[in-house]
Amino acid sequence: MRELFKSNVAGKASRALLNASRIILSNKYILAGFIIVLVFVLMAILADFIAPYSPIEIVGPVLQPPSQKYLMGTDNLGRDVFSRTIYGSRVVLLTTAIAIALSGAIGTLLGLISGYIGGALDRVFSFIMDSIYAFPSLILAIALSVALGPSPINAAIAIAVVYIPTYFRMVRGQVLSIKNEPYIEIARALGIPSTRIVTRHILPHVGRTLMVVFSMNSADAILTEAALSFIGLTVQPPQPDWGFDLYKGRGFILTGYWWMMVFPGFCITLLAVGFALMSEGVSTVISGRKR
């Protein structure tokens, strides 16, 4: 019995993996975006092996241009820009991942509850979400981040709050239409409890939409994270961080030391492009299948 269960789980996992790889390969946008994101993820995971120097120690003379010894040059304190850029990916990816997971989970949960129960509760939730949505997202994120104090976790929470309404609105809208489907009515007529109806009969139908919102938000969240770190609201120096390194490099670019700013900036852009490509591809695949 246990064996059977295990093989079933393994089977399901491998089927899911197969499905995922089929989706990735089916569209060149998704494939390109996926490769870009994958490179950054690997970079973050394997930073200890890739980076030639420690990111926070002074390893050579200050403001050296890119050379064989220092691939992306050194900064104004003599630290290796290449190593800092590689380690910097950790902060961005982790903060964004936590932010997206948090906002996705909370937004979806609230959307399900609000949409299914409806009535006064729905009106209250929708009002709160619309109020959050009405704020310019970056300003709200900065305000929250300042209020909570600078740290990567707080930045993640701030970004999460900004994106919760997006998930909430999408999920709620879907639930409102799905809950009137006859199969929901029949599930009720068969005595299936509400919690089960929501988790097993409504949530799976929302998945498709969630995927689109999810991939759209991630590119946006990367940029929001970079903005927060640009003004020093995530990790504190001397920890490497693209946004903050960008900020520091700003003072040197006019005097010709372009490498301090260009490399972290390029990484932010490329990562955002990677997610944007994936989102583009995912929405084409999903809407294409619908048609």
Binding site: G118, E181, P182, Y183, E185, I186, A187, R188, A189, L190, G191, I192, P193, R196, R200, H201, P204, H205
Partner: protein
Amino acid sequence: MSTLEVKDLWVKYYTFSGIVSAVSGVSFNLRKGEMLAVVGESGSGKSTLGLALLNMVPKPGKIVKGEVLLGGVNVLKLTPEEIRKIRGSRLSMVFQDPFTTLDPLRKIVDQFEEFLLEHGFDKSKSRSIVKEYLEAVGLPERIMYSYPHQLSGGQKQRVSIAMAIALNPEVIIADEPTTALDVVVQKQIMDLIDYIKGKYGSSIILITHDLALALERADTVMVMYGGYIMEYADKKELLNNMKHPYTKALFEALPRITTRILPKSLPGYPPDLRSPPQGCIFHPRCEYATEECRLKRPEMIEVGKGHFVACHLYR
């Protein structure tokens, strides 16, 4: 002793444009093993009646008055958890459109088992019940592992019926179970419902707009119009001794095979239930309407044994 007893049931929808009285003072008894057909055109309140019996009237509808006694217990007075346990196990329902009554993302066996598990069966037992009942409705075992889109409409309706009968409910409410199906499948499904009635002894409420189907299959026929019962009688009694002008009009609207009489249509439209006509709800379309019909709502009167009619003509 009746299995199901409905006493003076009133259901109203509180819409923005007014209060709609969808079911007005409906009472009837259902014996064990009896098939009652509720006949009426669209908007006659027959589907609302079916949902009301399960206390499942959708918002903004509300059951404002009445009792639904199942084995002497008022279903409308139960707590949500108590009524949940009754739904599907003692009172179950088959819906009209089989194409949308199954969750498209889940296999038949998953949906069926979920239902059984929620009613207290264990996993191994429920698997055998699924097999047993799919076989009982004439489906091969392999369709268990199919998704709804892989089945035909008739097969899906059979799955719905299998789920509706699996816990041997006392009453099965079938809301237009054959309307979305073609005639051949329609006959098969009705034969299946007859067979289930015989084999499991369930009482069946067949909600339909098709008087011919009702007269062919049911034991008792209840004709509804505008939320009111117009006529209620044994099938044979009704066939031989049709009383209410509306029932007669419905009957005359049926196409005939044996004679050359053309079907006659009933002029006019169903009443706007937000502002129903005064007096008898049918009087604007009734060719026998008198002054009294315009002013006074007719009471149900017994014109023969178990034959009730709500019409001033038979007082």
